[in-house]
Symmetry: D2
Subunit: 238 residues, 4 copies
């Protein structure tokens, strides 16, 4: 299994619209040089564009194919709804058809009700979306594991967007989360995030049992996103 590197574009200017699309292409280009499963979490209205689904199928000489960039596009959230009267809500089927292959859920900037987490995981399964559920503590990761998502991503909120990585500041949180999650459900992988920026951060996380990392500002808001990402991915080379 390849290590997973997820990049959350949030609503950063650098990750939005055309500027975001250029960044996604840079990320895809870099990913080709490493043995990694690269995931980008896009805003709802950007998924279609970032996944390179083309809407112009009816045009003569137009593009009809899915222009795969070789990376995976995820949404940043999802709702446990079905076809029907849900104005303004996020239907799993629509996210899927726009080109996403998975979704993030319960990020610290978008916490969810416990019953919604179970329902969202169930709906994601139904439509064939992978699901990564965020947790702010090892106990919340353990709780979420009971619902059998594909992954839980543990992120101590106080370190998100900061200068110190979870790998260096709280390595015991990684070990503790991996242990607790394994006890409940061995099939749920653990990702870690918050402050992850360089090769060393990635190396420590993988060594302590994480299946991958969740990034955001460290790459997206970098003055040199390609350089920052390449620097980090060097950590995959052991």
């Amino acid at each position: 299994m390849k290590p997973i590197v997820m990049i959350n574009l949030k609503t950063y200017k650098q990750g939005t619209g055309k500027e975001g699309l250029a960044l996604v292409k840079t990320i895809a280009k870099v990913a080709k040089d490493y043995d990694v499963e690269m995931v980008v979490c896009s805003q709802m209205a950007d998924i279609c564009r970032h996944s390179q689904i083309c809407a112009c199928e009816s045009k003569e000489g137009g593009c009809t194919a899915f222009d795969s960039l070789g990376i995976e596009i995820y949404s940043q959230t999802i709702e446990p709804i079905k076809f029907g009267s849900n104005t303004g809500h996020e239907l799993p089927e629509t996210i899927k058809e726009a080109g996403a292959v998975g979704t993030l859920l319960n990020h610290s900037e978008h916490r969810e009700r416990i019953d919604h987490i179970e329902s969202c995981i169930s709906r994601a399964r139904e439509v064939g979306l992978k699901i990564v559920v965020c947790a702010n503590t090892a106990h919340i990761a353990e709780a979420i594991a009971a619902f059998s998502p594909d992954f839980v991503a543990v992120e101590p909120p106080e370190l998100i967007g900061g200068d110190v990585s979870v790998s260096k500041a709280k390595p015991e949180l990684i070990t503790d989360t991996v242990d607790k999650v394994n006890l409940v459900n061995k099939n749920v992988g653990v990702l870690v995030g918050a402050g992850i920026k360089n090769a060393e951060d990635l190396r420590i996380a993988l060594k302590l049992g994480a299946r991958g990392v969740l990034l955001a500002s460290g790459v997206v808001c970098s003055a040199d996103p390609e350089g920052s990402l390449r620097g980090l991915l060097e950590g995959l080379k052991g």
Copy 2:
């Protein structure tokens, strides 16, 4: 000023993804035959596709132009956020860049906090999106008028999706709303919705002072959406 006909696709199967795109094209085709300002409210992840923004600009021989259908695409909601750390939230700039020219807000299926309504209207103005705010009573429409949106759309929730139109069941609600809104701010137009289905419903609404109507299931879930929409638009011919 042309009358406005807004069609809310909600998360109906017929309004989602490829099937939704086909419906949008049908709506655009019909709109060309009438003197009407036609608006479609699409799901977030469908805006790009429905507005025919093409993501394939880098392809050789690919399509680079905006394929305008001659109708307006709106989102179904918006949030009062700015560029930054807002995972899973709906940034006005992203909605705009995906091709939407406006947004619906505060639909009965997505009610908002009063302070958010003011902030969303302010953010929509900043990025150049039009905004239609829904209200379930004449007093709520009056209250919303204080924030100077482009339009308020009054919809009695008990008639939404039903067989009896607001035009026939509650004509006095239309008059009352137009009066109350005018008193607060003459520049805010009134749309009416709930059960609107045919030419007579549209004719009554316009005669009582509404600037247009808000539709959903009557067209979207119709066995013959084109026929249903044409039937309704005949009401524009006085």
Copy 3:
């Protein structure tokens, strides 16, 4: 009409439980010396105690009477629900029976959906509770006036709990709010809050058309609540 002075106990330690009851008694004692309508906003579980409703009616030799302190107890919020299955929600009837005569609503620390504000005002009327709805801007105050509450209380959030009063920092906000609210509904009084601390703050507010003020930390968290409150109430003497 006497000027109104409302003191919001929030969940301050000094306003909670027994300590809160002692403070309420101090406030009541001070109020007797001034020509003022004094209101205290208590936490839900403290209303019964602060209103001096006695639960011990069945005891021999026990107290059976309502020990009126001569001030009014309000709750800090309310919900638009009725008798039935609403575990954990705040029924207007229960608040009334516990001894409250009114409620605050939509405080900046507890913002509400616009449709809930209308429904809460309607429910408060039904059970005979007065209602004061908070607003963070003059436009929100204007909007709320459409629902005919007893009062709107305008409080710029950036001044709440701070050292500079709204009377001194934004006197034009008071005038503007009074004008806008009057235009919509002359029967809705305006209260002002945020940073109100002394006689001068109160005097300015009343002079500019406010019917009273909304206080919190300035009295509740004062090292000398009685002194602080007396100092402020001197402003009533012109």
Copy 4:
């Protein structure tokens, strides 16, 4: 350990204010005749009254003592806040001082965010309140067990308030929940609710490993609450 019988008064008319107090006294009277730990979940503004805390300590000849009824009063929800600026929110300290000894949380009528559940349990511990967290499925019960509450109460929402008890309709849910919860944390007891009405329902629940039951309408809305409760408690006699 005695079996636990919790009666949730919700916002039923029969459980509100004076009428509620009379019902609480009836429940207390019945409880004395059985070997049971009886708990009543009261509305916030009723806790003080139902727990018979007297506010009249300063009166001459007044009542100063806690008039213990021999049952436990719980609140129906709680919030993870601390002393400070939280207008309209429910502070654990206030609930405790009003006479409650525990709280219900995450009832199907008041679902919570997963991170709030962890924080509420932690705050309840700090102030010395017991905590019973509701779950709608065995997996949610398992998840909640990771946070070590005193009890989880599993209630299939479709059976709440209905005629068929969980004991008869879904006995395997009880067994499954007990197993899953035990695996995560053996110190967390399981209560079961939904449709529980008579001796047989109680007997089955206890036999399948539940530590007690959660009741509401079956007793509170009964034409003969005392008779209904006595009938149910006969189930304790094996």
